[in-house]
């Protein structure tokens, strides 16, 4: 099972929607995933424990080795399928 950390500003709202969409898509694709949520400010300490990080806000931390994907498209709908595919590919 792959573990995905989904982060937004407060870790309470937009990450909830994004995490749900990721879980649904991965289920369809037969990819076993578990999502957890946090605040973006917590990523620095938490990210390395996960296989993938998805954020709804701009994020750049050179210390983090885990791949990070921008998930704003899962809120806007624009380019959503491409981002979801990118997420599945990053877990392979």
């Amino acid at each position: 099972m792959k573990r995905i950390l989904v982060a937004c500003g407060n870790g309470v709202a937009t990450s909830t929607v994004v995490a749900s969409k990721i879980r649904d898509y991965c289920k369809d694709k037969g990819v076993d995933v578990k999502t957890e949520q946090c605040r973006m400010i917590e990523l620095h300490d938490k990210a390395d424990d996960y296989d993938l990080v998805v954020t709804t806000g701009k994020f750049n931390d050179p210390d983090i080795k885990t791949p990070c994907i921008m998930g704003i498209s899962l809120l806007t709908g624009i380019g959503q399928d491409k981002t979801l595919q990118q997420i599945v590919d990053a877990l392979k």
């Binding site: 407060n10 309470v12 709202a13 937009t14 909830t16 929607v17 949520q37 709804t56 701009k58 809120l75």
Partner: protein
């Protein structure tokens, strides 16, 4: 959407508003006056917007989704503000850029990682440009509420 309140009192026409700060302040005060949030909420919303802006650029009628920590909230609700004259809002995905926001969905969330049903509805609303156009061009808050109630209430 039983666990999150939405009613006609939670629709605000933000006519004459010229900044996102002003828009947020009016909506936060409405939630406060109706008892949904604590006195700490308006400032928490303002602070959060500075650190992590909430403008969502959808290449059309753009939206913003201000919210803050659940500790500032008494009862879950969504307050909708309509900006017939859009205001500049810093973008969630790129805080150095702004977008013109026409619809504000201010969230008062009581539990973290919950309210998925309502959050999905708000996100679907933002993505539904036909509905966004109708709501933003409604001639009154009652009209806007009629359009939104089947969707959010």
């Amino acid at each position: 959407m039983a666990d999150v309140d939405f009613n006609a009192d939670l629709v605000v026409m933000l006519d004459g508003v010229s900044s996102y700060q002003e828009a947020e302040s009016i909506l936060a005060k409405r939630l406060l006056d109706l008892g949904y949030v604590k006195v700490s909420y308006p400032q928490a919303i303002a602070d959060r917007e500075v650190t992590y802006p909430t403008g969502i650029y959808v290449e059309g009628l753009n939206a913003a989704m201000p919210h803050c920590d659940v500790s500032n909230v008494n009862k879950a609700a969504v307050c909708v503000g309509i900006l017939r004259d859009p205001v500049d809002w810093r973008r969630m995905d790129d805080p150095d850029s702004t977008c013109k926001v026409s619809l504000v969905t201010m969230l008062a969330l009581k539990e973290a990682h919950a309210h998925l049903d309502m959050l999905q509805k708000v996100v679907s609303l933002i993505q539904d440009q036909d509905l966004m156009k109708k709501v933003v061009s409604a001639d009154s808050k009652e009209g806007a509420y009629e359009l939104l109630k089947d969707y959010l209430a």
